[in-house]
């Protein structure tokens, strides 16, 4: 078996020993397997890249819509979103009326919490070079989108403190998950009325 062979590699032995040592230090039950190893603080920092709705993970840095417009042009965003954010061929980033709104993509003003906009821009844009944007650039682009959708002023600076406080106007459209869901229950929605 493959693991029988690999188990005797020195690195794995060391990892196993470390796991046992850290396990003992933490006082865990004997029933644990002890496979894997403790993550270093640096590894945890590097893995912690998702920003939640409350913005607790927002990094230092800042930007406003004026800077955002410059970043937008400089990073090639108009290639997909058009010079005014609405021409396509990618998703329109500004839409005023609900009517005519695509149900597959809808613009940032309909998102429930503002820190989520920062999260997606930083993790997944630009489409063909995801991950190249700095935190400052991501704040600036977030500010640009919020401003063009009429949610903040052009000079308003977005940072870890101000971004979570932006009021999102369509929050009430967002259906929260069912709080008491358990496996093995019939589905709460889309079950037809008999």
């Amino acid at each position: 078996m493959a693991w029988c062979r690999t188990a005797w590699r020195p690195s794995l032995l060391v990892a196993l020993l470390m796991a046992v040592v850290t396990g003992t230090a933490a006082g865990q039950e004997e029933s644990l397997f002890g496979f894997g190893r403790a993550a270093t603080p640096r590894e945890v920092r590097e893995a912690d890249t998702t920003v939640g709705p409350e913005g607790k993970e927002l990094p230092p840095g800042s930007g406003n819509a004026v800077q955002g417009a410059a970043v937008f042009a400089q990073r090639g965003c108009p290639l997909c979103h058009g010079p005014n954010l609405v021409e396509g061929p990618g998703p329109k980033l500004v839409v005023e009326a609900l009517e005519g709104l695509s149900t597959t993509y809808y613009p940032v003003s309909y998102w429930p919490d503002a820190p989520l906009i920062f999260d997606f821009i930083r993790r997944a844009m630009p489409y063909d070079r995801a991950g190249i944007l700095s935190d400052d650039e991501s704040y600036a682009l977030t500010a640009l989108l919020l401003h063009r959708n009429g949610l903040i002023e052009e000079e308003d600076v977005m940072d870890a403190d101000s971004l979570p406080r932006v009021v999102m106007p369509h929050r009430s459209r967002y259906t929260e998950p069912p709080a008491d869901w358990q496996p093995g229950r019939p589905r709460p929605w889309t079950t037809p009325v008999p």
Binding site: W3, R37, A39, V44, A47, P183, W189
Partner: protein
């Protein structure tokens, strides 16, 4: 050059030339497909005694089924496609037998950010957040845990039939069923020690766009897997090599491929796929519907089939439900006036495809074939009218807008058999 190499090269050359005929504007080479899989591919003569096929088997050259290219992904109109443009491909359900989908024919949608190449010996799974001991696991570490192997279906929440769909590949191509092998995530979380108050996890992928998805802890502790095996071999790159999350019965998008990070948290993180898309027909966003409904579809006879003569046919199809095991499948051949229980083939497994059969004598009359699934929670697959009524639409309104507006479409699929034996989609606006 040896004779073997020569023969292989000739095969590759011929295949390439053939594929070139079907090249798309995006430059994708696609082999021509036949619905029956019985068409001989001219010129391609692989030597089945060649060492390469002795070492890694290949299918007969008379079998040519491929995945089904989907034209537009999320670009439903004629706007220019994004660059790079990576189309989705569906499962050729029409050509498959049994309940297992070969990994190479398993649907693969929404690879907007491409399929990453990951060296498994360098890959790590990090578990952090609300845990006592943040942990790092190699793939070898994970293989040392007691494993679980289960047969589960995967279905995209957008797996829906439109009146314009010609065959069952088009109505139902975004679904598949495999045996998945991996470690229960609950076991890994026990190693890390979940803190009081933790109620969700956020799973993150290693691909360029870092797809993320929130999963409620009640589901994680029930049956979620960190999988490394699919149908007896390592998961294929387009399905998440070397690790993917398996969230049985939930929407396909929960099953995060190329899994690299799990953060334990106290609320849903409303990630991109949970906040910006999939607005319901009532213009409210519903991102946490979780399980897919009870559903079934007849795969034979189905759209574009032709019954050559009056006589006996075995109607067959697939049934499944995110809620658990399929308890019953009924089949109607008269447009829903009468229903007969079909025979369920093999054990009906929880959250897996279940194959059903019903022997039918066709005397040449016009017929409408339909199947209806009931699962172990007594959830029943709805008719078009029932589904439309739930969303306050008429049947016709629903069918006209259903192509883009609804997820979780689990309507009963009708196939119309004409007196001349031709079968076509029975959904009409």
């Amino acid at each position: 050059m040896s004779a073997k190499q020569s023969s292989r090269r000739k095969f590759l050359r011929n295949s390439a030339a053939l594929a070139g005929l079907a090249a798309t504007p995006a430059g994708l080479a696609v082999a021509p497909r036949t619905a029956s899989g019985q068409t001989r591919v001219a010129g391609a003569v692989p030597d089945m005694n060649a060492m390469e096929y002795v070492l890694y088997g290949a299918r007969s050259r008379f079998v040519t089924t491929t995945r089904i290219l989907e034209g537009h992904g999320h670009y439903e109109d004629d706007r220019p496609k994004p660059n790079p443009y990576r189309p989705s491909a569906g499962t050729p359900i029409r050509d498959l037998v049994g309940i297992i989908t070969p990994s190479s024919l398993h649907f693969a949608t929404q690879h907007h950010y491409g399929i990453p190449e990951i060296n498994p010996s360098e890959h790590r799974l990090t578990i952090h957040g609300m845990v006592d001991r943040p942990m790092v696991f190699t793939v070898d570490d994970l293989k040392r845990f007691p494993a679980s192997s289960k047969i589960y279906f995967l279905e995209c929440l957008g797996n829906r039939a439109r009146p314009t769909d010609k065959n069952v590949n088009e109505t139902n191509g975004r679904m598949a069923c495999s045996e998945w092998t991996g470690v229960p995530l609950s076991m890994l979380l026990k190693e890390a020690g979940v803190k009081n108050g933790a109620s969700w996890i956020v799973a993150e992928a290693a691909e360029a766009g870092h797809h993320t998805k929130s999963v409620p802890m009640a589901k994680v502790m029930d049956d979620v897997l960190v999988a490394y095996g699919q149908n007896g071999e390592p998961i294929r790159p387009d399905h998440g090599f070397p690790l993917r999350l398996l969230v049985p019965g939930f929407e396909g998008i929960y099953n995060v491929k190329w899994l690299k990070t799990i953060k334990v948290v106290d609320q849903p993180y409303k990630t991109f796929q949970e906040r910006s898309r999939f607005m319901g027909a009532d213009r409210r966003s519903r991102h946490f519907i979780y399980e897919l409904g009870p559903k079934s579809v007849i795969t034979f006879p189905s759209g574009e089939d032709h019954l050559p003569e009056h006589g006996t046919y075995t109607i067959t199809g697939l049934a499944w439900s995110g809620g658990g095991a399929v308890r019953r499948v009924e089949v109607s051949t008269d447009g829903g006036q009468t229903w007969t229980d079909a025979k369920l083939r093999g054990p009906a497994l929880k959250r897996a495809f279940t194959r059903f059969d019903l022997v039918w004598k066709w005397k040449g009359e016009e017929a409408v074939l339909q199947s209806r699934c009931t699962d172990e929670l007594d959830q029943v697959q709805p008719s078009v009218a029932e589904f439309a009524r739930f969303w306050n639409k008429t049947e016709s309104e629903f069918l006209r807008t259903g192509a883009t507006s609804f997820g979780h479409v689990n309507i009963i699929q009708p196939w119309k058999v004409a007196t001349n034996g031709l079968v076509q989609n029975g959904l009409e606006t």
